[in-house]
């Protein structure tokens, strides 16, 4: 299905398979029906049950307000789909356009959407990860297990990793009066996403709320008792912490292993696609019938020099799903590019942290309005003299202004739009962990000499 003459027939009775039945998959299915697709729609998902929302799992669910099974996503319309749930897809055959499920079933399609997302990165020692009281938080079941462990009144919770999820969980612990230790390898919380300046603010916030925050240390070992219950953690500086619960919050692993031999451009960084969500093959050529959306998609953003960016953001999943769905049932001339500026939020320690743009794409950062000590401010990020991102603490109403600055490549540092200009508004280096820390290793090698022979081969280095 690639020419305009067959598009009408495809929209009427074509076959679309969506692999990954979470937020991006569901929204894409709804958008496909909105676009007038009346053919067959198959939803494949490895988890049982209807698509559910994940952000509440590290917030409302852990406080005990909302049950873990209460986050099922609302439906904006009927999608009239066949649901194949509880079995993951394990292979994609592009020669015959089939998806194979782990139980051997083969599902044919004319066009497919990949929205398999991300899973939690597990603790690196399997036997220690299996100890009673050691958790990750990605699925409903994860969150329900941790909620029960927190309700049982643990003497202390250890959170390993002070990114957004880890910090949110530490915040809930304090809200519930549970002693909590947070261990982070970087010099401060949130540094990997927002840089050193915001990291310092986040560290102050955690300590002010009674978190035992330990930065610059690695957890080297989780120790259990004779009953297989987690009891103690050992740190790289030789110290230890006694706790009943350990939450491993070390980020995610993109679910791309099933596409390893598919011939698509996949790696630990996701599935590469164009800004219209069409997947690239391993040679970097765009495909016609395979689309990608959500956390697993790695898409070039023209505002950031066409760099390929993967985003684990709620809004990105929703927006990309709609772009992918539209393009799946449109001709080349009618296709839309995914050009929205990334947005993100996190709620922790009573503060609403939001960002617009890509904060890691910056060399300088400056507080442009408000007061850092009051935790009510906006910081703008700049790269080589233009605004590329902004982060707000309890100042969300201003982010639209900064989005416009990013879209118009406004000069950095920007002027303060309000009378509450900070006394000391001087840009400072943004100070992210260096590229050596972020490098993931090669994923391909190139072979051949003549232009007609040169090809890329994927390397088997999935972590």
């Amino acid at each position: 299905m690639s020419s305009a003459t067959t598009l009408k027939g495809f929209k009427r009775d074509g076959r679309i398979v969506i692999v990954g039945a979470s937020l991006a998959g569901l929204r894409a299915a709804e958008a496909l029906r909105d676009e007038g697709f009346t053919g067959s729609l198959t939803m494949i998902g490895d988890e049982l049950g209807e698509p559910y929302d994940r952000p509440p799992l590290s917030k409302q669910v852990l406080t005990g307000w909302v049950p873990a099974e209460g986050t099922t996503l609302p439906r904006r319309r009927d999608i009239d789909a066949e649901w194949l749930l509880g079995v993951p897809a394990d292979h994609l055959d592009l020669a015959t356009n089939h998806v194979r499920l782990a139980d051997g079933r083969r599902i044919p399609f004319d066009r497919m959407l990949i929205s398999t997302g991300v899973r939690a990165r597990p603790w690196f020692v399997e036997a220690e990860a299996a100890l009673d009281g050691v958790f990750v938080v990605r699925t409903r079941e994860d969150a329900d297990g941790l909620r029960r462990a927190m309700a049982a009144g643990p003497s202390r919770v250890l959170v390993i990793g002070a990114g957004f999820t880890g910090s949110e969980i530490a915040s809930i612990c304090r809200e519930r009066g549970i002693p909590v230790t947070v261990a982070e390898l970087a010099p401060a919380p949130l540094v990997g996403g927002l840089g050193a300046m915001i990291g310092e603010v986040a560290a102050d916030m955690q300590r002010a709320h009674g978190v035992d925050l330990r930065c610059g240390v690695k957890v080297t070992r989780l120790e259990g008792d004779a009953q297989g219950r987690f009891r103690r953690a050992h740190f790289s500086d030789g110290s230890t912490v006694d706790a009943d619960v350990a939450v491993v919050a070390l980020g995610g692993i993109r679910n791309t292993e099933w596409l390893r031999d598919s011939g698509l451009a996949v790696g630990v960084w996701g599935v590469a696609c164009d800004s219209g969500c069409r997947a690239f093959d391993v040679n970097g050529l765009v495909t016609d019938d395979i689309f990608v959306a959500g956390d697993v998609a790695r898409c070039p953003n023209p505002i950031y020099e066409y760099r390929f960016i993967s985003l684990e953001h709620w809004a990105n999943a929703v927006e990309q799903a709609e772009i992918a769905a539209h393009n799946m049932v449109s001709t080349q001339a009618d296709r839309w590019p995914h050009l929205s500026i990334p947005t993100f939020w996190s709620i922790q320690f009573g503060v609403n942290i939001k960002s617009v743009g890509v904060p890691t794409y910056a060399d300088e950062v400056v507080v442009t309005q408000g007061s850092v000590p009051d935790h009510r401010f906006v910081a703008a990020y700049g790269y080589q003299g233009r605004v590329t991102a902004a982060v707000s603490f309890n100042n969300a109403k201003w982010l639209d202004h900064y989005r416009q600055l990013i879209e118009t490549a406004a000069p950095f540092p920007p002027s303060c739009p309000t009378p509450d200009q900070p006394a000391d508004a001087k840009p400072v280096p943004v100070d992210f962990p260096g590229p050596t820390l972020l490098a993931q290793g090669a994923t391909v090698v190139v072979t051949g000499h003549d232009p007609g022979e040169r090809r890329v081969t994927a390397m088997r280095q999935h972590r």
């Binding site: 049982l48 049950g49 209807e50 929302d53 952000p55 509440p56 917030k59 409302q60 406080t63 307000w65 909302v66 049950p67 209460g70 986050t71 099922t72 996503l73 609302p74 439906r75 904006r76 319309r77 009927d78 999608i79 066949e82 649901w83 194949l84 749930l85 509880g86 079995v87 953001h313 709620w314 809004a315 929703v318 947005t343 993100f344 939020w345 709620i347 320690f349 009573g350 503060v351 609403n352 939001k354 009510r376 309890n394 100042n395 969300a396 109403k397």
Partner: protein, 74 residues
């Protein structure tokens, strides 16, 4: 009933927390926490809150309790 709030749109105007306080609560100055599956008894209040949101960030289930067919594979 089922709802979801697009918190990347939400700007903390708190209209929903006034109109349907059992389903929407402010956490600190501007962060919103909400119940994604409020009791059907709150339906009128929740619909009023969704209509009043200045950012139109609240998505309410349109299938209105009718079961969305999910066939679980064997």
């Amino acid at each position: 009933m089922r709802i979801v709030v697009d918190l990347s749109r939400c700007q903390g105007y708190a209209q929903c927390a006034f109109l349907a306080p059992d389903a929407f609560r402010m956490h600190g100055e501007e962060a919103l926490m909400y119940d994604p599956s409020p009791d059907d008894a709150q339906r009128e209040q929740v619909l009023r809150a969704a209509a009043a949101c200045p950012l139109q960030a609240i998505v309410v289930d349109r299938l209105e309790g009718r079961d969305a067919a999910v066939e679980v594979s064997p």
